[in-house]
């Protein structure tokens, strides 16, 4: 299943946040979206998953999601969005309860996704007992449980410290190598973008337009830290973003 974005334009009041975004998200690829703060990247992600509607333009689903997918478009949020009154297991179970699954089948899925995210020992823990990195792994487990066709990740690592971010990035690469999921990955962190993206979409400051799409051919599981091509790409991206970021920063202070 592919997703095609066609002419996405959106205003909040008389302020245009997104202007004519065309983008193709192909199955099995990770598309990273980067841009200065306030450029509408998170808004774009909400359009893609149908949580908000753009003023004009469309998000088209091309082809059908695999039959076993319970929730084809599945988010991973920056703030984890775990229910504090449910345990790790309960939080994963939440998203299965509205589907017609036997108790046994649901338990099997939960068991499997917790194992894949190395959370089996923590299934009875409440979110408040977990570190930020663990919480995000619970959110990833929850997303995996519904077998998404496309994962929509909204700065999933931005709330975490640098070491945890590295570890989770490795986990994500691992997960991707095992089954090539499709993802739209919004971030402001260029390193995450060059490590995880097949395609990196650079948005301009408000109104957000696509400035450039950078493709990286190096396979994701072959990208080592300090890889020359990656560093070079990261520099190119930074050159693209620098002025936008400065301008966006001034815009915010000027109100």
């Amino acid at each position: 299943m592919d997703l095609h974005l066609e002419g996405i334009t959106h205003r909040y009041g008389d302020m245009t946040v997104l202007d004519g975004i065309d983008l193709k998200i192909e199955s099995g690829q990770i598309v990273c979206v980067i841009g200065p703060s306030g450029c509408g990247k998170s808004t774009l992600l909400r359009f893609i998953g149908g949580l908000e509607r753009p003023d004009s333009g469309e998000v088209l689903q091309v082809g059908n999601a695999p039959a076993e997918s319970l929730n084809p478009l599945t988010y991973i949020f920056q703030d984890f969005a775990l229910l504090p009154w449910r345990t790790v297991e309960g939080n994963v179970s939440l998203v299965l309860e509205d589907h017609d699954l036997s108790r046994h089948a649901a338990a099997e899925i939960i068991e499997d996704v917790l194992a894949r995210t190395k959370l089996t020992d923590f299934k009875k823990a409440f979110p408040r007992q977990l570190s930020g990195g663990m919480k995000q792994r619970v959110a990833i487990a929850r997303a995996l449980a519904v077998k998404p066709a496309v994962m929509l990740m909204d700065e999933p690592l931005s709330g975490l410290d640098a070491q945890t971010r590295e570890l989770l990035m490795d986990d994500l690469i691992d997960l991707w190598s095992r089954e090539k999921f499709t993802a739209v990955y919004v971030t402001h962190n260029l390193n995450e973008a060059v490590r995880l993206g097949h395609k990196i979409v650079v948005l301009s400051r408000r109104p957000g337009r696509i400035r450039e799409i950078v493709e990286i051919d190096t396979p994701i599981d072959g990208r080592r830290r300090g890889n020359a091509v990656l560093n070079q790409t990261q520099d190119v991206l930074w050159e693209l973003l620098r002025e936008e970021a400065i301008a966006a920063d001034m815009e915010l202070t000027n109100g």
């Binding site: 988010y75 949020f77 703030d79 969005a81 229910l83 504090p84 939440l94």
Partner: protein, 267 residues
């Protein structure tokens, strides 16, 4: 220029404080000391028996109540009214609070009415209730129901309003049904506020039950206090008030228990 000052001293400590610590036994000790002073005052005549009976006299009155079996008669009557009024008031209040929290049309239509009725001292309405529901149990239960209903409504919809929107958005993004979102995200999210509301409404209920019984009842703690007052039997009056205090403490302890159990995910 003098040599640089190499004299060393520890950095002055400026932190600490502002962190209340539990001190075991101090609360009861203050209680006991106060009672002893009161008893001494009464016995030496510093506190005239007319102004305030000695605690020991109130204790005797309490024992008489116990021995004669009247305690259970009065307490039973009050508790029955209290439980009925409070339960129905809370259930209806939570229901309307949810409706206000969930539906804009109910909020726009009903919440001004709730805000208008909430601050009325419900005791002022007791004569009306007696006209509507008669002098019997119904008017007393109705008063408590009415008194506990409004704060519950306000606390409940305040709780619903405060549920983390990102959790609701998460529920929607996973395709949860509307009913699931209400039951599994909004209700538990509003539960802390609902329980706070029940704490407040329980105190209101105790105030109102006594007020209702003061005016029109033969049985009940309020009636007992009322009879004692009209006979200037201040020892019985103090005994009655002590029972009310214990009742209030018990209810608040029970709610504390419920909170610790239902909100155990918090800490």
């Amino acid at each position: 220029m003098a040599d640089p000052d190499t004299h060393s001293r520890p950095v002055e400590f400026r932190g600490g404080g502002f962190a209340p610590k539990p001190i075991r036994g101090l609360g009861p000790a203050v209680f006991i000391v106060l009672f002893i002073l009161w008893e001494i005052g009464s016995r030496t005549g510093v506190i005239s028996a007319l102004v305030l009976p000695a605690p020991s006299e109130a204790l005797v009155a309490l024992r008489d109540l116990w021995v004669s079996g009247e305690l259970w008669l009065h307490l039973g009557a009050s508790l029955q009214r209290l439980l009925m009024g409070w339960t129905i008031g809370s259930v209806l209040g939570i229901a309307l609070g949810l409706l206000i929290g969930l539906f804009s049309i109910v909020r726009a239509g009903v919440s001004p009415l709730v805000s208008a009725i909430f601050p009325i001292p419900k005791i002022a309405l007791l004569p009306l209730f007696i006209i509507w529901f008669g002098i019997g149990e119904e008017s007393k239960v109705a008063l408590i129901l009415f008194g506990t209903f409004f704060p519950t409504v306000i606390f409940t919809y305040g709780g619903v309003d405060n549920v983390d929107r990102s959790l609701i958005r998460m529920g929607q993004s996973f395709g949860l049904s509307w009913f699931s979102i209400v039951r599994k995200i909004i209700l538990p999210g509003a539960l802390p506020a609902i329980l706070s509301g029940m704490r407040v409404s329980s105190a209101i209920a105790i105030i109102l039950i006594v007020a209702a019984e003061l005016i029109a009842a033969e049985k009940g703690i309020g009636a007992y206090v009322q009879i004692a007052g009209s006979l200037f039997a201040t020892d019985q009056l103090i005994a009655g008030v002590a029972i009310l205090s214990v009742l209030g403490l018990t209810v608040s302890w029970l709610i504390g228990k419920a909170e610790r159990f239902l909100l155990r995910w918090r800490n």
